[in-house]
C-alpha cells in the first residue's frame, strides 16, 4: 500500500495518456480497483444507511401498487391504492389539508424565527449570546418537555390559562382547549414552533459568525444605508449554504411532528381536526395492517417532502440577487 501512492503520483502523467486508450467502463473499473480501500472504509456505514434509509423508500414505492397485509404475499393491484386514496378516502384528503397547513405555517415561521433570532443575537457579547442560544434551543432537545402545554392549557380550572381567565372573570366555564376542534390546530402549531429551533438555528448562529466582518465595513463605505440593506446585499449571499441546510431541516421537521399532536390532543384528535398524513400512515400501517395502502400514503409523503425541498432550493438560489 505504502508504495502504491508514491507510484501513483509518479505514474500520473502516464495514466492520463492511458485513459484515452480505455473505454469509460474500463477506466472506472481500474479506478475502483485502485481505490478499493475507500470502498472498504465506506462500506459499513453505507450498507446500514442503504438498508434502513434508502431501501425503505423503494420498498414503500413497490408495495404501494399491491394489496399486502404482512401475512399473505403481496398481490399486484396497479394504481388502485392511489385511486382509493384520492377518490374514496375523505379522511386522507383532510389529513393532506392539515399536514399542508401545519407545514406551511410551522416550516416558514420556524425558519424565519431561527434566522431572525440568530441575526439579532449575532452582535451580542459571546457569553450573552451563548445564554440566549441556550434559552431558544433548549425546548428542541428537552424530549417531552412540551407536555407542560397540556398542564398549562388543561381543561379544568387548575390549568394555567383557564385558571387565569376564570379568575379575571373573562369566562364562566373552563375552555376545553384540546377537545375543541377550533383550538387544537393553532395550539399544536404553537407548541411545534416552540420546539422547532434546532440544528438549523445553530447553523445560522455559526453562519453569521463566519461572515467576514470587513465585508460589512466595506459595505458601509460603499453606501449600504441600514441593516436591512446590509442583510440583503452582504449577509444573505454569504450565508446561502447555511440557508440551504436550515431550509432542509425546517421542511423535514415541518412534516414530521405528528407525535406532538398525539401527546397533546390524543389519537385520534377530536373530529380528526389535527389528523396528519403521518397519522393516516400509522393508522393503516400499524393498526389495520393494510400495508400496501399505507405504502401508497408513505410514497405520497416522500414525494411531498422532497418536492417542497426542491422548490425551496430553487427559491433560495434567488436570494440576494
Amino acid at each position: 500500500m505504502s508504495n502504491k501512492v508514491a507510484d501513483a503520483a509518479q505514474a500520473a502523467p502516464k495514466r492520463a495518456v492511458a485513459r484515452k486508450d480505455m473505454s469509460k467502463l474500463q477506466w472506472t473499473l481500474k479506478e475502483m480497483k485502485n481505490n478499493w480501500v475507500a470502498y472498504i472504509m465506506l462500506a459499513p456505514y453505507y450498507l446500514i444507511f442503504l438498508t434502513f434509509t434508502i431501501i425503505p423508500v423503494f420498498v414503500s414505492f413497490f408495495l404501494s401498487f399491491t394489496s399486502f397485509n404482512m401475512i399473505e404475499a403481496p398481490v399486484f393491484i396497479g394504481m388502485d391504492n392511489y385511486a382509493r386514496l384520492f377518490l374514496d378516502d375523505d379522511i386522507f384528503i383532510l389529513a393532506c389539508q392539515n399536514t399542508l397547513i401545519f407545514a406551511a405555517v410551522t416550516g416558514p415561521v420556524s425558519y424565519l424565527l431561527s434566522f431572525t433570532i440568530a441575526w439579532f443575537i449575532n452582535e451580542l457579547p459571546p457569553k450573552l449570546r451563548a445564554f440566549i442560544t441556550l434559552i431558544f434551543y433548549a425546548p428542541n432537545i428537552s424530549g417531552s418537555a412540551y407536555m407542560i402545554f397540556q398542564v398549562a392549557f388543561s381543561s379544568d380550572s387548575y390549568g394555567l390559562v383557564n385558571g387565569w381567565l376564570l379568575d379575571l372573570e373573562m369566562i364562566d366555564t373552563p375552555i376545553l382547549f384540546f377537545q375543541n376542534a377550533s383550538y387544537v390546530m393553532p395550539l399544536c402549531i404553537v407548541v411545534a414552533l416552540w420546539t422547532s429551533l434546532g440544528a438549523g438555528f445553530l447553523s445560522f448562529i455559526a453562519g453569521f459568525q463566519t461572515v467576514d466582518r470587513s465585508m460589512y465595513e466595506a459595505g458601509a463605505v460603499d453606501g449600504v444605508k441600514n441593516r436591512w440593506q446590509e442583510l440583503w446585499y452582504i449577509t444573505l449571499p454569504a450565508m446561502r449554504p447555511q440557508l440551504m441546510f436550515g431550509a432542509i431541516l425546517a421542511i423535514t421537521g415541518a412534516f414530521g411532528f405528528g407525535g406532538i399532536v398525539d401527546a397533546l390532543a390524543g389519537n385520534p384528535s377530536v373530529d380528526y381536526c389535527a389528523w396528519t398524513i403521518m397519522h393516516h400512515l400509522n393508522d393503516y400501517g400499524g393498526a389495520r395492517f393494510e400495508t400496501g395502502y399505507a405504502s401508497a400514503i408513505a410514497t405520497i409523503l416522500f414525494i411531498i417532502m422532497i418536492g417542497s425541498n426542491k422548490i425551496v432550493n430553487i427559491l433560495l438560489k434567488k436570494v440576494g440577487q
Binding site: 438498508t51 434508502i54 425503505p56 433548549a138 428537552s142 398549562a152 458601509a220 425541498n309
Partner: protein, 296 residues
C-alpha cells in the same frame, strides 16, 4: 444589557456601521418577547416539579412556588421502585443507556470512516453517494417506518434492541456535519504528505484527520446521544423488558392527577441530561455548525 451592547459595538469597530437606536430598541423588544415565550414553559415545568400538592392544585394557578419541596422527586423514585411495572424500573434505564451508548459509539466510528472517505478520497461513485445522503436529509424517517418494519422482520430484529441500535449507526445528520467539517478544516496537503510518507489510508485517517475534527466528533456524539436518549415507544419493540426510560416516563406522565407532581419531576430529570450536555459542548457544536452549509 442594552448599554453593554452599545459600548461593545463602539469599541469593536473602526468604521461606524449603520445602526439606528430605533432598530436596536426594536430588536431588544422582539428578543425579550420571544425569549419569554421560549423560557416560560421550561421555567413552569421546573416550578411544577417543586410544588407541594396543595400548590399544584391551588386556584388560581401560580407561576411561582411558595414552599418549594423535593417531595415530587422522592415520589418519582418511589414510583420507580414500586412493583407495579412488571419489570424492575432500572431495566428501562439500562435499556436507554445501552441504546444510547452503543448507538452513539457505532455511529461515531462508522460515520467518521465514511466522512473521511467522502471528504478526502477520490473514487468512482463518490458524488452520487454523498448526494444520496443529502437527499435523505430531505425526508422524515417516520415515513419509512412501515417499510422498515418489514425489513426488520426480514432480518429477525423485531422486538430486539438491534432494531434501534443498528439504524442509528447509519444516521445521516452526524455524518453530514462531520464530512462538511472535514472539507473545511482538514487540509489535503497534510494528508497528501502523510500518504507520501507511506502512511496507509486508515492510519492517515486515524492519526492525522481524526485529531483535527474533534469538535465534529463531539457534535456527532451530542446529536446521536440526544436522539437515542429520547427514544420512546416504537413499533419495533413490544416486550416490556426492552422498553425505554422515555417510555416509562410517559407512563408516569399519563398517570393523571395523583402523579402530576411526579410527572413534572420526571420531565425535569429527562430534560436535564440533554441540556447539560449541550451547555458543556456548545462552543464545539457551533464550531462544527460553521461549516454545515450546503454548497450547490
Amino acid at each position: 444589557m442594552a448599554q453593554k451592547y452599545k459600548k461593545l459595538r463602539v469599541r469593536k469597530h473602526t468604521v461606524v456601521l449603520n445602526r439606528s437606536a430605533g432598530g436596536d430598541a426594536g430588536i431588544f423588544f422582539f428578543l425579550t418577547i420571544m425569549g419569554i415565550f421560549m423560557f416560560i414553559p421550561m421555567y413552569y415545568t421546573v416550578i411544577q416539579s417543586l410544588k407541594p400538592l396543595d400548590e399544584l392544585w391551588a386556584f388560581p394557578p401560580r407561576l411561582y412556588v411558595v414552599n418549594p419541596t423535593l417531595k415530587n422527586f422522592k415520589d418519582l423514585f418511589r414510583l420507580m421502585n414500586s412493583s407495579s411495572w412488571g419489570v424492575p424500573f432500572s431495566r428501562y434505564i439500562f435499556n436507554t443507556v445501552v441504546i444510547s451508548v452503543s448507538g452513539t459509539f457505532g455511529n461515531l466510528v462508522l460515520s467518521s470512516l465514511a466522512a473521511y472517505v467522502l471528504s478526502k478520497m477520490k473514487f468512482p461513485g463518490k458524488g452520487w453517494m454523498f448526494q444520496l445522503i443529502v437527499l435523505s436529509l430531505m425526508f422524515n424517517a417516520v415515513a419509512a417506518s412501515i417499510a422498515n418494519f418489514i425489513i426488520m422482520s426480514f432480518l429477525g430484529w423485531v422486538d430486539t434492541l438491534w432494531a434501534i441500535i443498528i439504524p442509528a449507526w447509519g444516521s445521516t445528520l452526524g455524518l453530514y456535519l462531520m464530512k462538511q467539517f472535514m472539507d473545511s478544516s482538514v487540509s489535503d496537503a497534510v494528508l497528501e504528505s502523510a500518504r507520501l510518507d507511506g502512511a496507509s489510508e486508515l492510519r492517515t485517517f486515524w492519526s492525522i484527520a481524526m485529531p483535527m475534527v474533534k469538535p465534529a466528533w463531539l457534535t456527532l456524539i451530542v446529536y446521536s446521544f440526544q436522539g437515542l436518549w429520547n427514544t420512546g415507544s416504537t413499533i419495533y419493540i413490544y416486550s416490556e423488558e426492552l422498553k425505554t426510560f422515555s417510555y416509562a416516563i410517559g407512563q408516569i406522565l399519563s398517570g393523571g392527577i395523583v402523579r402530576a407532581g411526579a410527572g413534572a419531576a420526571s420531565t425535569v430529570v429527562m430534560m436535564l441530561v440533554p441540556i447539560i450536555v449541550f451547555v458543556v459542548s456548545q462552543s464545539n457544536i457551533l464550531e462544527t455548525m460553521a461549516s454545515s452549509g450546503m454548497k450547490d
